[in-house]
């Protein structure tokens, strides 16, 4: 069925219901006009327009005209009928338009919604009642003297009709969802119905109008029902009371007394609706709290860090799973004990941003811990919330790293001194050779004069001896460092490379370098671990220096280790600018460098170290897009033969 068809059917149904309600509530009319003390048809109209859209107001006009004709037999002329019906249709259509534009919560689940809906209805009903009365006066149907009377009666009738019926009808689409709850509480519903019926009987049905003084009894069942069922319950209860009143007592009362009681009932229904709204708000808040509590619990359970809460006296009030793990005690063992027993160095006086101190586990073990602490200023349960992280593994790893780096640094210093002394020996040996030879020449040239003073030859001899001694000292110095023996042992290349990468991880991160490794080593490698590490360390430091000169996004260093036959090949590739052409030829010579702060010994040392193990270091590729160094080492490095 298309939408137009459905709307048409809905409209026809609405018109029929409107006429029926109008007919049923057509009691105590003013001058046989449609001005009655309770107009549920107004409630129906507003619910219809809010649910189906304000444009359906045309059906309201039709319903109003037909009701006038069918229920009251057209007590007014046709123009008056048309005008008064138009007033009703336009009035409610406009109100529905305003409410839907305003985004009213149709379930009236908040105090604000109830206030807007109730006060809006009252104002709208007043405007419509005034316009309706004016129309009738214009057409001469209503005497001017009765104007205020007519407006008041029409206003209270419409307002009451809206407040009792509309909330119930607006909640109707949700009734399917509420059905299981209704079924589950059949007993409650039955007893509430019973109490309500008894109250109605007591107030309206037992006898003559004198019992109206019991009318306040009605508050009890209405409040009870509202507490159980919220806004729809309030609406239904007051609707039943209204029906009870109109069928039981109203026929026996004068029109004036009926209106009086309608004022009381409008207060009752508005109060009940507000109460319902407050309850809905509370339920919503509780729901939200439950969700956030569940989230909090999940957070605490999965948190990797220990989370503890204490009261202001410093006694533990809760502990999560990580805290149990940290302190080696169950949560129940910890609760109630003073926090100072576990963290003796912490004084809970003020919040702590981040601090490193020592804790004590349940088994008495001391451990390093990093904590952060905040004051919980919830008025109900003030205290402290403390987050603690176990630092023992971290510190252990740090200590290991430091140790390794110290060993490496000392080996590096040794290699540096060796390279330096070798280079020095070589450089100084040349002038030494020249000195010794020149002295020899002097000795030969002086021979003819020897008879004149024998000390001449002797002195030259002595000078020669001293020069030779100096050369010898240099040679011994060089041999001492060179003899720095090679200690060949099984090397875990993967771990070695991981160690080197780890040493540079911080620096690489600071520079934004993308550091990668690829290791395909199938054989066990026998080599000097410290020396190999030193070489890779050197190359890595060079690579990072090289990439630091290019833009951040292009900084990459890739380390690759493979075994190829009986060779271990490690390549280190960087995305720097490559080796400058002016140093390319002597790259591995000592004191050659492209760095402003370099000694120019790193590569020379690295090559010497590798060669002493039967390996080699080469510059594999160098272009403007980077450099690649290749380390080759026999899988089984041999000890250096004695020099």
């Amino acid at each position: 069925m298309n939408i137009a068809g459905r709307n048409c059917l809905l409209g026809i149904g609405y018109v029929a219901a409107y006429i029926a309600l109008d007919d049923l509530s057509f009691v105590q009319p003013l001058l046989k006009l449609g001005i009655t003390p309770w107009n549920p048809d107004a409630g129906l109209t507003l619910a219809f327009l809010l649910l189906c859209g304000w444009r359906q107001a045309i059906w309201t006009a039709v319903a109003a005209i037909l009701a006038e004709l069918l229920v009251r037999g057209a007590p007014v002329s046709l123009p008056a009928l048309l005008c008064s019906s138009a007033v009703i249709a336009i009035g409610y259509g406009a109100f529905a338009f305003v409410l839907s534009k305003h985004g009213l919560d149709l379930l009236l689940a908040s105090r604000r919604a109830v206030l807007e809906f109730g006060l809006g209805s009252a104002v709208t009903a007043f405007v419509i009642a005034s316009a309706y009365a004016a129309t009738l006066i214009v057409f001469g149907v209503l005497p001017v003297a009765l104007t205020s009377h007519a407006i008041a009666r029409n206003w209270i009738g419409d307002t009451n009709g809206i407040l009792t019926l509309t909330p119930l009808l607006l909640a109707a689409p949700a009734v399917k969802r509420a059905w299981p709850a209704l079924r589950a509480h059949r007993g409650l519903i039955a007893s509430q119905a019973l109490v309500l019926a008894a109250s109605l009987w007591l107030v309206f049905w037992r006898g003559p109008a004198a019992h109206v003084s019991f009318i306040y009894v009605l508050f009890a069942p209405v409040v009870w029902i509202t507490l159980a069922w919220g806004v729809p319950g309030a609406s239904l209860a007051t609707l039943l009371i209204q029906i009870g009143f109109m069928t039981g007592l109203a026929p026996q009362l004068s029109a004036a007394s009926t209106i009086e009681i309608q004022y009381f009932l409008v207060t009752l229904v508005f109060t009940a609706l507000l109460l319902g709204a407050v309850l809905a708000e509370r339920a919503d808040a509780l729901d939200r709290m439950r969700i956030s509590e569940a989230e909090q619990r999940a957070l605490l359970t999965t948190a990797p860090d220990a989370v503890l809460t204490t009261n202001l006296a410093g006694q533990i009030t809760s502990a999560n799973i990580a805290a149990e793990r940290l302190l080696r005690a169950s949560s129940s063992e910890m609760c109630g004990t003073p926090l100072a027993g576990w963290l003796p160095e912490l004084f809970l006086i003020q919040p702590v941003a981040r601090r490193r101190l020592n804790g004590t586990r349940a088994n008495g073990e001391r451990f390093p811990v990093e904590i952060a602490c905040v004051l919980l200023d919830a008025p109900a349960r003030p205290g402290y919330l403390l987050i603690a992280r176990d630092m023992s593994e971290y510190e252990h790893a740090q200590a290991q790293l430091r140790e390794r780096e110290t060993a490496l640094a000392s080996a590096m210093r040794f290699a540096l001194a060796g390279e330096l002394s070798t280079a020095l020996t070589h450089e100084l040996n040349q002038p030494m050779t020249a000195i010794v030879s020149y002295l020899k020449a002097v000795e030969i040239l002086a021979a003819p004069f020897d008879s004149r003073d024998p000390r001449l030859t002797e002195t030259v001899h002595k000078a020669t001896r001293e020069a030779l001694r100096a050369a010898d000292i240099l040679k011994r110095l060089r041999d001492f460092y060179r003899a720095g023996a090679v200690h060949v042992a099984a090397v875990d290349v993967e771990k070695l490379i991981a160690d080197v990468a780890c040493s540079f991880a911080d620096r690489a991160e600071r520079l934004g370098v993308h550091l990668t490794q690829e290791i395909r080593v199938t054989q066990e490698i026998a080599a000097d671990r410290v020396q190999l590490q030193m070489v890779l360390y050197n190359l890595m430091a060079n690579a990072l220096d090289a990439v630091a000169e290019v833009a951040t996004e292009g900084r990459r260093v890739h380390m690759r280790a493979v075994t190829d036959g009986d060779q271990l090949r490690v390549t280190l590739e960087d995305s720097g600018r490559g080796v400058p052409s002016d140093v390319l030829k002597q790259l591995f010579e000592p004191f050659v460098t492209s760095k402003t702060d370099g000694m120019g010994l790193g590569l020379a040392i690295s090559r010497s170290l590798l060669r002493s193990q039967g390996g080699e270091l080469r510059l594999d590729i160098s272009s403007a897009a980077g450099a690649r160094f290749l380390v080759e080492l026999p899988v089984s490095a041999r000890e250096r033969p004695a020099a």
Binding site: M432, T433, S437
Partner: protein, 204 residues
């Protein structure tokens, strides 16, 4: 041989100068080169004596020079002088036939000794080469018939046997033999045999 020369190759000017001075004071002819390339460029085949070279030099190293000499069949003995004491390089140089290996600074007596024996070896080599060359050129002047007689004579055959083998008269063999011995400038059969073997050495 009085024109034997020490060809000194060293990149360090003062080493070159001082060693050159000492060697010349000791009565040796020297020729100095700052690089191995310069030596190879000026080298002439009639040079003899020995090469004294530094090991580590910019450009061509001492080992490179040794390789190049081998490739060009320059037979001058090579004495390596190094300031570095590089064991691996020493081993390689000796394996490739270096005459000796000395470490700087060097004792002049030792240096002189080594250079003199190197020169001696070179002189012997040259003489051997020259005599072989002379024998060869004398041999080249023989006619085919004279050479046949020479071959059979060196093989130990008598004149009569040679005549039978060559199907000529012993008298004719006598004439060939006399002419051959005159060309070879030999006075006895023993000398003829020596010359023939020496020439064979030169031909190899």
């Amino acid at each position: 041989m009085n024109d034997a020369t020490v060809f000194l190759v060293d990149d360090d000017a003062s080493v070159r100068d001082s060693l050159g001075l000492v060697l010349s004071l000791k009565g040796m002819r020297t020729q100095l080169f700052a690089t191995a390339e310069a030596f190879l460029e000026t080298h002439r085949p009639d040079w003899h004596g020995c090469v004294l070279t530094d090991l580590q030099m910019p450009g061509m190293s001492g080992l490179d020079l040794q390789r190049e000499l081998l490739q060009r069949s320059i037979a001058l003995p090579l004495v390596v002088l190094t300031a570095h004491g590089d064991v691996a390089a020493t081993r390689l140089a000796m394996k490739n036939g270096a005459f000796d290996f000395l470490e700087k600074p060097v004792d002049d007596e030792v240096l002189l000794d080594v250079l003199q024996s190197a020169i001696r070896e070179d002189t012997l080599r040259c003489e051997r080469h020259r005599s072989e060359h002379a024998a060869r050129s004398r041999l080249d002047r023989l006619t085919p018939r004279e050479r046949d007689v020479l071959g059979l004579l060196v093989g130990g055959l008598s004149q009569r046997d040679i005549a039978a083998r060559l199907k000529i008269s012993p008298r004719t063999v006598e004439v060939y033999k006399a002419r051959m011995m005159e060309k070879l400038q030999c006075r006895s059969v023993a000398e003829v045999v020596r010359t023939a073997l020496s020439a064979e050495g030169a031909a190899r």
